[in-house]
Symmetry: C2
């Protein structure tokens, strides 16, 4: 009763509440990309949940997906409409058990939503200290490996050398795999949720190229030289609509069409009169567009397109669990299965557990609790006891 | 020997050769759309192969796909690089056997390639006789049913009342189904190759909306008021790239990436440096863009999005064969299977034969010979002897 009163009071006053999450900033004065270009400074945000143990052996790094941020669990304010994206599996007694693990969730470079007050990132929307202007398309091209190196620097700053696990969804899964190849002796386990496998497939590379196209066609893009308050919103919205389409499924769309308001007139009455699903998809996309920086989307797509560790795979020592979603059309389960097969053929430990859900790629976020048990078991299993490759 | 000499001579002189195909024009002085709008005149092209029998009972209508034309078989000139798109199954002794059937292949309204000298169509690129200017976006919105009604008028002009079969791929399959619902007593058989089933699925409606977006974002589109020689080519190319992507598969892209020239520099070296698959997809798309009219693509997408005969299905009397392609991501086999199930539940005759190919939707064109036998057997089977629904 007393606790409840305190929490209500704190909420009203905007003070800390139980389980409150705080976004922290990590600053690296200077960072050299894989390509040899210098970005100075680099700032990224991170959050942490749970407690670091004495020998620092309980650290799990969570890496985020294409349009995500490091806000993986909990709330910043009690009044937040929703908690972090993986709140269903991060917390006391959950798969990523904060009673056992110290979980760090890290932002990446070139985050899509730099104008969101809770995002801390460095990318094309950042000010270049040399010119005092926005980098725009003069920002260096970065890669998933660069994301990893910045995270490494973040962990170094916290004096953390070893990761019990790296866990990520989609683009975050790419980072997790890259971590295991970049620092094989420092990563014990990897969970690739709805991940691309060991490299972006050419079919998906082509799609990411197509994701970027609407922005570049929008005259307001201006080769990337738009003002912050005069963004190519139409292009961004079309990109986001295509991204949502790519990340969902036939079943998802059928459901959305069913619950969306029917068109006022026949969609054949004019070009402007849309069907229910079109109107619903447009609304979602334009609502989200406001938070996205156009150039950042292009940079993130470029980074993901070039994720390729077919060679790096040989270095991996971590045990790997792949958790694809059955109806995923972006990274279908077959990609995880062939990646596991490859790792097994290289003498590594890899296994696949398919989420039996029907919403497509997004289920790796929205229905992640379906994978809770398999992720928990994989994490709790003693290192080296895996029977990954049968 | 004599024949060969004549053919060579004819070829040199540009005269007729054996099996030469001639595009014909059908003119309808005035046409009223389903929406009640008048288009005057309407012209469409058609081709025919084989001979009409005495009682006119051997007619097969072939209806074309989204970006296709009525050029389904044979060549116009001996020097043509390729024959019509379904030449593998149309001809003497082939599935659509010209020794038995009289095959008419018809253009539709709003064909995508009105500037191709071999396309005859009426659409937004046509001149509105009232204004003496291009219709542009003032052309009436048309539907698949309108395509069918124009074809009906064409057949009436040839004094053909009954169709032994209507056969089409993809958008052509939608027309074939619509024919069977519109004129149930006049259509004995339907083959829906890589078709949408009985209606465009909301997931695919959303995709067709997205196909249209790049054109509308291109500043050269100008709300449809571009000049013929100043088209929004960048937007068209992006639309076509996405269409090709939608109509292929992971396996197709892997193959294309393998045979495409590798990038000169690392794709991470700059935003302009593309991966092999991106460069290959861009080249294909921009090569094709020249032949496409931007507004026509929007009209065709609108027509297809609104294909829906969930109700019309009850009227069908034709026996229906669905031939989906196994790796089709646009209209997966499950759509054909549920359509067949629905028809069977309504007491109709429907069956499904899946093409075991790996290229995706396009296989319904490029690998159609795989379905040759099943199509031939279905067509040769006596009407009413089908065991469609088991």
């Amino acid at each position: 009763m007393k606790l409840v009163l305190i929490l209500i009071l704190n909420s009203v006053l905007g003070l800390a509440f139980e389980g409150q999450v705080i976004k922290k900033e990590f600053v690296l004065p200077s960072f050299k990309t894989v390509n040899g270009e210098i970005i100075s400074p680099v700032k990224i945000g991170y959050e942490n949940y749970g407690k670091l143990n004495a020998d620092k052996s309980n650290v799990i790094l969570v890496t985020h997906y294409f349009s995500g941020t490091s806000h993986a669990a909990g709330k910043y304010k009690e009044t937040d409409l929703a908690p972090g994206y993986w709140d269903a599996i991060i917390g006391p007694g959950k798969a990523l058990d904060t009673d056992k693990y110290f979980i760090i969730s890290s932002d990446t470079l070139v985050n899509l939503t730099p104008y969101d007050p809770n995002t801390i990132t460095t990318g094309p929307a950042s000010i270049n200290p040399k010119t005092k202007k926005k980098y725009g398309m003069s920002f260096p091209v970065v890669s998933v490996r660069d994301f990893v190196e910045v995270q490494r620097a973040l962990l170094d700053s916290l004096d953390i050398k070893k990761l019990y696990a790296v866990v990520g969804a989609s683009g975050g899964a790419a980072q997790a795999m890259e971590w295991a190849a970049a620092y094989p002796d420092d990563v014990a386990k990897v969970i690739s949720v709805i991940g691309p496998g060991l490299a972006l497939h050419p079919y998906t590379i082509a799609l990411l190229n197509i994701w970027s196209a609407p922005i570049q066609l929008d005259p307001k893009w201006k080769g990337g030289k738009y003002e912050k308050n005069d963004q190519p919103l139409a292009g961004i919205a079309e990109s986001l609509k295509l991204i949502t389409w790519s990340c969902t499924s036939f079943e998802w769309a059928a459901e959305l069409a069913k619950v969306s308001p029917p068109p006022l007139k026949s969609p054949l009455s004019s070009h402007e009169q849309l069907t229910a699903i079109e109107a619903a998809m447009n609304k979602r996309a334009s609502d989200r567009a406001k938070n996205v920086d156009a150039n950042s989307l292009l940079y993130m797509a470029k980074a993901m397109e070039n994720f390729n560790m077919e060679e790096g795979a040989q270095k991996i020592k971590a045990e790997v669990l792949f958790v694809p979603a059955e109806k995923d059309l972006l990274f279908p389960p077959s990609l995880s299965e062939s990646a596991a097969k490859k790792l097994c053929s290289l003498g590594k430990s890899a296994e696949v557990s398919v989420m039996k859900t029907d919403g497509g790629h997004l289920d790796g976020i929205t229905k992640i609790s379906e994978a809770s048990k398999v992720m928990s078991q994989f994490l709790e299993r003693k290192i080296g006891s895996g029977k990954g490759c049968k």
